[in-house]
Symmetry: C2
Subunit: 266 residues, 2 copies
C-alpha cells in the first residue's frame, strides 16, 4: 500500500517505520512544521516531507491521521484528498462518526473512512517499537475498507480486533485509569519520598512486583493489599494525618481508600 502520514508525532514515529518494515511504502509525511516532517522522513526509505494539506496529487491510497485529537477537526477541514482515498485516524477517544462528520462537512472529495488505533503509549525518544504484541483496534465505514485495514493490522501485529467506536471509547477510558492515573500515582509517590530525602528507587522493586502480580492474577482485585483492603483504620488515620498539609493528596487517599473498601459500591 502507498501511505501518507498526516502528523509527525509520537504515533507516526513508530507506526510509519513498522508499516514500511511490513513491506508498505510511506510516500509522504505531512506536518505543520517541515522540520518535524523531515525528522520522521529521515527514519523512512523514500518519503517526502510536506506541510500542505492539499494532497490531491498524492500517489497514496491510505492517509493516516496522527495529529493530536484536538487538532483533528481543523486538519480534516483543510485536508483535500485524491479520489478513492482511505483516511483513518489513530485516536482512542474520537469516534468514526466524528471523522465522517469532519470529512463530509469540510472536504471536497468524499473519502472512505476508518480507525486504526494501536493500543499503546508511544514516545519519540524510544527506538521504533515492535508492533507484534500491540493490539490494533480496527473500525471502518464500509466492508472493503475494513478488510484492507484488518489485513494491514495483521501484517504488523498478531492482535487485531474489530472494535466499534463505543467499545474503543471504553478501552480508552479504562486506559486512563490503568495507565495515566497509575503513572500519576507513581509521580505522587516520588514526590512524597523525595520531599523526605528518601530515594524513590527504594520503592521500585515493590512497584515492579505489584504490577507483575496484578497482571498475572486472574483479577487484579484478587491481589489487592494494603490498609484499605485490610480495613486497618489505625494506619489509614495515621496516613491521613501525614497528608494534612497536602489536601489534594488527602483527597486522592480518601477516594481510593473508600473505593477499595467498596463502601459506596463501585
Amino acid at each position: 500500500m502507498n501511505i501518507t502520514f498526516i502528523g509527525a508525532g509520537n504515533v507516526a514515529w513508530h507506526l510509519a517505520p513498522a508499516l514500511e518494515n511490513a513491506g508498505h511504502q510511506v510516500n509522504e509525511v505531512v506536518s505543520r512544521q517541515l522540520s518535524h516532517a523531515r525528522q520522521l522522513v529521515s527514519l523512512l526509505y523514500d518519503a517526502r516531507p510536506r506541510t500542505n494539506l492539499n494532497l490531491t496529487d498524492s500517489p497514496s491510497e491510505l492517509f493516516v491521521l496522527t495529529v493530536p485529537d484536538d487538532a483533528l477537526p481543523d486538519v480534516c477541514s483543510r485536508l483535500v484528498l485524491p479520489e478513492n482515498a482511505i483516511v483513518v485516524h489513530t485516536s482512542g477517544s474520537r469516534s468514526l462518526d466524528d471523522l465522517n462528520g469532519w470529512m463530509q462537512v469540510y472536504s471536497d472529495v468524499p473519502a472512505r473512512t476508518g480507525v486504526f488505533y494501536p493500543l499503546q503509549t508511544f514516545s519519540r525518544s524510544q527506538n521504533p517499537l515492535d508492533f507484534e504484541g500491540i493490539p490494533i483496534c480496527i473500525e471502518a465505514a464500509d466492508p472493503d475498507t475494513e478488510a484492507k485495514l484488518v489485513t494491514l493490522g495483521q501484517e504488523i501485529s498478531s492482535i487485531v480486533y474489530l472494535v466499534n467506536s463505543a467499545e474503543r471509547r471504553i478501552l480508552h477510558l479504562s486506559a486512563v485509569f490503568a495507565c495515566n492515573f497509575t503513572n500519576h500515582l507513581l509521580a505522587v509517590a516520588q514526590n512524597l519520598t523525595e520531599a523526605h530525602d528518601l530515594e524513590f528507587d527504594l520503592l521500585k522493586p515493590l512497584i515492579r512486583e505489584t504490577f507483575r502480580k496484578a497482571l498475572l492474577a486472574p483479577n487484579p482485585a484478587d491481589v489487592q493489599t494494603g490498609p484499605a483492603r485490610r480495613g486497618d483504620q489505625k494506619t489509614i488515620n495515621t496516613h491521613l494525618q501525614m497528608l494534612a498539609d497536602q489536601p489534594r493528596l488527602m483527597e486522592i487517599y480518601e477516594v481510593m481508600t473508600e473505593s477499595i473498601r467498596g463502601k459506596r459500591g463501585r
Copy 2:
C-alpha cells in the same frame, strides 16, 4: 543466628527460607493455628511448629514478628522471651517506639528491639523469593542490635538501609499510593472493560509499557500522558459522562484529573 518466627503468614513464608539459605537456623514457627505453623515448617530444615507465646525455653536469639500489624499489640502482650532476646517487627507502618511500648508494658523480660522491614509485597502462593534486590530497612533501639540486624540484612540483600520510624512511615505511605492504589486502578480498568464484554488482556501491553517507561524515566511525571496532562477538556467531559452512573469512579476520575492538572497544587 538462631531464629524464631512469630507469625506464619506471607512475610514469614518468604523471609524464613531466605534466612535459612543464608546459613541461619530457624528453630521455631509460632502461629495461633498449628496447621499454619506446620505449613511453613515444611519449607524449613529443622524448625518446630508452636502455638504458645511463652518462649522462655527457646534456643533462639532473634524473634521475628510477622503477624498482621493490628495483631502486634496483643501478641506482644502475651509474648514471653528468654533473656537477651532480640525482637523485631517487619511492619512498614508501626514505629520502633510502638514496639518498645508493647514490650515494656506487657513483657516480663526486657528485650532488645528493632525493625527488619523488607520493602516488598509477599504472597504465600509464590515460590520463595530471592531477597537480593529487595530493600531491607533496619532500625534498632541500641547500636549492638542495629549492627546485628544490618549484618543479617546484608546476608540476604544487597540493598540494606538504616531507616528510622518517621522515614519508614513515609515509605509505607508512598507505597500505598504507588502500589495499593495503582493495583486498585487496574481492578477498576478490568471492571470497566469486562462490563462491556471487552477483554482486559487488550490493555495489558499498554499497562506494561506505561510502567516500564515510568520506572525508567528520571521522574514518572516526565512521561505523564493522557487527557488531563494535555488539558483535553472534550475527552475529560466525555469520560465523566460515561461514568455518570458510577459516582465512585467519577470521583476518582475527578480528583486524579485535578491532581494531574495541578489546579490546586499537590
